[in-house]
Every structure is written in C-alpha cells, then in structure tokens.
Amino acid sequence: MSKILVASALSAAVLAWSGAAGAQTSEARPAFLTPEQMNQLLDEETRRQHQRRVSAYDQLKGRLDSSIGASAEARNLAVGSALQMVTPLTDIKVQQLQQKGMVR
C-alpha cells in the first residue's frame, strides 16, 4: 500500500513539474509565432505608436503653434493691421494624422 502511495506521489510530482516546465517553455518560445502573427504584432504596435503621436499633438497643439501665432500677432502689431494671420498649423496636422488613420 505504501509503495502505491509513494508511486502515486512521485508520478503526481513528475506531472506537476512537467506541466510547469511546459508552461515555461511555451512562454519562452515566441519562435512559434508565424510570420503572419509577427506582422500582426508589428502592425498593431505601429498603430499604437501612431495614435500616441496623434494624442500628443492634440494635447499640445495650442502651445506648439504659439510661436507661429505670436509671430503673426507681432507682424499685425508692427504693421498696425487688423488682419488675422494666425494659421493653426498643428490643428491641420492633427486632422491629417487622424484622417490617415481613418482612411484605412
């Protein structure tokens, strides 16, 4: 009886070890990735980085344009003209980046 118990415990231990080792091996073997899966991961990261850039521009657009706006305002003050020469360049850039993302 005790031999059976020892054998059962041993086999359970072996099974548990092999299961853990198997799990580790599968985690550490991305070589299993097919070329399609690799490209999918790379494409997904490309999309994420694009979105990161769009968000950054969206967040900072007013300030990024300030030098352009200030120059235009300076020109207006200097010339004494009421013409509005401010061009929201970053606004246009954000729109373009967003549209590129939406087209595909």
């Binding site: 985690e27 991305p30 990735l33 490309t46 850039r53 200030a70």
Partner: protein
C-alpha cells in the same frame, strides 16, 4: 513711419529665421538591404524598412513634417523580440552614422540643451528687434526735425512725437510677443518629445515595443546614413540615402 518700417523688417527677419524652408533636416530614401522588406505604414502613410533576424524583427521609418524636426530627422522604430531571452531596449540601443561620422541620437538631456539654445537665440532676436525699434524712433525724430524745420508748428511737432513714440512701443510689444511665443513653443516641443520618444523597456520573449527617436542630421549631406538597431546580440542595419532635391 521709419520705426514702423524698421520694425516690420526686424519682425519679418525674426519670423523668417524661425521658418526658413532650408533649415529642416534631410529627407531620406530607404535603401532596403538583403533580407529586408519595405512595409507600408497604413496609419501615418509612407513606408518602413523591416529587418528580420533569428531572434528579433525591427522596423524603422522616417516621419516627416514634425515639430521635433527642429532638432534633426525624426524616425519611428518598432521591434519584436522573437528570441527565448528577455532583451533590454531603448534609445541607447540605437546609433547612427553618416559615412564614417557618428551622428548623435537625441535624448531627453540633448533636447533640453537644444531648446535652451533656441530660447537664448529667441531672446537675442527680441533684443535686436527692440534695438531696431529704438533706432527707428531716433531716426524718425531726426528726419521729422530736419523736414519740419522752423516752419513746424507746436501741434505738428507733438503729433509727430506721438506717432514716433507709438511706433516704438508697438514694435517693442511685437518683439516681446515673439519672444514669449518662442518660449512657449520650446517648452511644448520638450513635452512632445517626452510623450512620443522611445522609452526604455525590458522586452520579454514575444514582446513588441516602439517609439520615436531623432538623429541630429544636417540638411545638406551626400553620404548615406546608417541607422543601427541593437536587440540583444543582434544588430539590424538600415541604410538611408539623403534626398537632395
């Protein structure tokens, strides 16, 4: 009239210097090497070069028309760890050279240094514009004095003085606005770099990661630029030819 003309010239010079069409970095044409592919970027447009090796894959693409191009050419890098071991990756994993000359890969400290230099030059330009306004005022006063001569009435003299003073104040206000704008935009660019720059990370097997980096390139160069991306023991080399026209 003279101070206004002078101030217009100074402001035009200042804004012209800030947006000169030839002040940007080089635009590069990717030169795919053996074992490399050209991959379309469906999000931002354009094409990436993709290099695949036994334990990693890397993509690199130049991003044009970006505010960060004030400091050089902006690139995006995407990497995938296909090996069995974790690999550290970040701005320190990237290097570049033009011919045999190393090119600086701009990090956070370098961006701070470059932006401080820009702010200083903006301040200097502001001082120059103020000086122009004052000089214009003096010249105008002299011209008005000579032209008016003894026939100028008291009221005419006062009117001329007010006009000259108004011109000077307007010009100085304009220069301080320009300087203020330069400072705000400079801080914003630093923040932009922090938001999009490639961050350091330990890539586990199967991890994908990416970000943006800048190389300090000059516009006029005829030599090919090589960008190296290191992933553990592997190095991906990307060749780019500067587009001259």
């Amino acid at each position: 009239m003279t101070p206004r003309i002078l101030s217009v010239v100074m402001v035009a010079l200042a804004s012209g210097c800030a947006s000169m069409p030839f002040s940007g970095p080089a635009t590069y044409v990717p030169q795919p090497q053996a074992g490399q592919d050209v991959v379309e970027n469906p999000h931002a447009g354009g094409y990436s070069l993709q290099s695949s090796q036994a334990r990693s894959v890397a993509r690199v693409q130049q991003m044009v028309g970006d505010n960060l191009e004030e400091h050089g050419a902006l690139f995006k890098v995407i990497v995938l760890n296909t090996g069995p071991q974790p690999v550290p990756f970040g701005l320190g994993s990237i290097s570049a050279q033009s011919g045999k000359t190393p090119i600086t890969v701009v990090d956070h400290n370098k961006v701070r240094e470059l932006e401080e230099a820009k702010k200083s030059s903006g301040d200097a330009m502001g001082s120059l514009m103020n000086a122009g306004a004052v000089l214009g005022g003096i010249l105008s006063a002299a011209v008005a004095g000579v032209a008016g001569g003894p026939n100028m009435s008291q009221a005419q003299m006062e009117s001329a003085s007010q006009s000259i003073a108004g011109g000077m104040v307007g010009s100085m206000e304009a220069s301080s606005k320009a300087t203020e704008g330069t400072r705000i935009a400079s801080d914003a660019r630093r923040e932009l770099f922090s938001l999009v720059a490639l961050q350091d990370r330990m890539l586990q097997p199967g991890d994908v990661w990416g970000g943006y980096f800048i190389i300090e390139s000059k516009r006029f160069t005829t030599e090919d630029t090589m960008i190296e991306v290191r992933m553990g023991a592997e190095t991906h080399q990307f060749r780019f030819k500067p587009k001259l026209f």
